[in-house]
Amino acid sequence: MRILILIRQVLDAEESVRIRAGAVDLSGSKLVVDTMDEYGVEQALRIREGGAEAEVIALAVGPDRIQDALRTVLAMGVDRAVHVKTELALDAISLSKIVAEIARQENVDLILCGGQQADWDSHALGAATAERLNWPQITWTSALQVQGKALTGSHDAEDASETFAVELPAVITTQQGLNEPRYPTVPNIMRAKKKEIRVEPLEQFQVTPKLRVTGSEIQVKERMRKILDGKDALAAADQLVQLLRDETRVVA
């Protein structure tokens, strides 16, 4: 079987977001593989290591710097990578067209992608890709087993955890807790340098962004920060409850 993982490169969660001229400015910031995508990589590698005859392919769409993210997942153990080169910022619905087309070209059986992107805060890529391929989807997957063509596992629904069964091909979106992603080892980092990253031009996919981003601003709500010293716990608790009653009108 062939497994495709969509890899995104995002701002490290520890970094501050900067805005320049109404847009998020990533220059000089630490960029990393979206953690959500690392769960997908780890899961694909575990499927392969579990004895399934599987080839694991990573796909990334973006500028040249995104090859750093592909090298990272190649060092984790991904077999080869495809880089669709573009400077365009694509929304999830547009991006799904490329993922679906690569999945067709590569004859893929299973696609793994992140449940929520750490930059666009989007949940849409997995489902949109599944629709384009007319495949089923499982979102927010917390456990996954593959046996031949049968996928089973559990995922999170609105207010419950559900167990599921579905047949390949399918799209799975990941979440924290699915597994514990491995770190690349030094020999694997060396080996990864020799692995193939095939570069494809964007033009063949005929995508145009469906949305325009017209501005961005940092969200900081001014907070009052009335912080009490709790050495005298009883007095501080009384005072806090009084403040909440008098000033917020939320507490009765």
């Binding site: 520890e14 977001v17 929304d91 999830a92 619905i93 799904s96 750490a118 805060d121 949940h123 849409a124 890529l125 489902a127 949109a128 629709e131 384009r132 089923p136 989807q137 917390s142 089973t152 999170d156 629904a157 609105e158 207010d159 419950a160 955890s161 167990t163 599921f164 069964a165 579905v166 047949e167 807790g177 469906k210 325009r212 981003v213 017209t214 501005g215 961005s216 601003e217 940092i218 969200q219 709500k221 907070r223 920060r225 009335k226 912080i227 009490l228 010293d229 709790g230 716990a233 009883l234 501080a236 608790a237 806090l240 409850v241 009084q242 403040l243 909440l244 917020t248 939320v250 507490v251």
Partner: protein, 316 residues
């Protein structure tokens, strides 16, 4: 027309449906606000929707007894096409955000995800939404003739239902064969108000010490306030609390009137799930914890002493 896909639970419309009704009325686009109710045995829900919309479409079909993103998206896209909807509003809930992308692809429409505002200006539709783990507000726009919008829960006020029920129409839908089998379900049972609908959320982190500490402090305070209970990822991973209570990037996003963080340090992934709360209250022993930077009120001190004292003060 503006199509609202009604969301409901336990035989009643969810708050999100009332919020979508407000969103539709404020949109500035012409056409009747049409509520679409999908499911099986949904007459009472359709009746409730009839007090909210200009007309109601009811797809009452045994095949829709259980939510399935493929079936839901096929039905919504078909009805949107037949009714020539220019705007499809879907809840920003977990399931809404899971089937809406399929609707957008079927309609060849852009998807405006989890918007906090949306406004039409002629043929242009502008919206605002949070990005970068809710640290940035982004403005987006499109000129597309048909758009799919998911509406962030809690971003719009709930519409007040009218007194005259509008007309209901049966909608026939052609559904694909289900491929996904749900083989089991474990819902967390709770007598408390739902996390995403609560005015007050009391949440606990590692600082509560143990699962028992959580029960005494966090659940105790929540019950004294009539609030819901939330948890950080760390203590969900530790098995102290069910995932359904997790607040943050990989859990729920909440926007209550008051969020009380007990023993929570305030990692960015957690903050992204609650930093839009109207008031944030923090109780933590570490004065340097990031949670205090986003707090309106707080106490630096021992949660084991302070929280029981707060519960006592509230019961006075």
């Amino acid at each position: 027309m503006i199509l609202i896909v009604a969301e409901y639970a336990s035989g009643k419309l969810s708050k999100s449906t009332y919020e979508m009704a407000t969103c539709a009325r404020q949109l500035g686009k012409e056409g009747p606000v049409t509520a679409l109710v999908l499911g099986a045995g949904i007459a009472s829900i359709a009746n409730e929707a009839a007090l909210l919309a200009d007309q109601v479409l009811v797809a009452d079909n045994p095949a829709l007894a259980q939510y399935d993103p493929e079936l839901w998206s096929a039905a919504v896209a078909q009805i949107a096409k037949e009714g020539e909807a220019h705007t499809v509003l879907i809840s920003g809930s977990k399931s809404g955000r899971a089937f809406s992308p399929r609707v957008a692809v079927r309609l060849d429409a852009p998807l405006l995800e989890d918007v906090i505002s949306v406004k039409a200006d002629g043929n242009k539709l502008s919206a605002e939404r949070y990005t970068y783990l809710a640290r940035v507000m982004e403005k987006i726009e499109t000129d597309a003739p048909v758009v799919v919008v998911t509406v962030k829960q809690g971003a719009f006020s709930a519409a007040t239902p009218g007194t005259n029920a509008v007309e209901q129409f049966d909608a026939d839908v052609t559904l694909p064969q289900p491929r996904l089998r749900i083989t089991g379900r474990s819902a967390a049972q709770s007598a408390r108000v739902a996390l995403s609908e609560a005015d007050i959320v009391v949440a606990g982190g590692r600082g509560v010490g143990s699962a028992e500490g959580f029960t005494a402090l966090v659940e105790g305070l929540a019950d004294a306030l009539g609030g819901a209970v939330g948890a950080t990822r760390a203590i969900v991973d530790a098995g102290w609390r069910p995932y359904s209570e997790q607040v943050g990037q990989t859990g729920k996003t909440v926007q209550p009137k008051m969020y009380i963080a007990v023993g929570i340090s305030g990692a960015v992934q957690h903050l992204s799930g609650m930093n839009k709360s109207q008031y944030i209250v923090a109780i933590n022993k570490d004065a340097d914890a990031p949670i205090f930077k986003v707090a309106d009120y707080g106490i630096v001190g021992d949660v084991n002493q302070i929280v029981p004292a707060m519960i006592a003060a509230l019961r006075k």
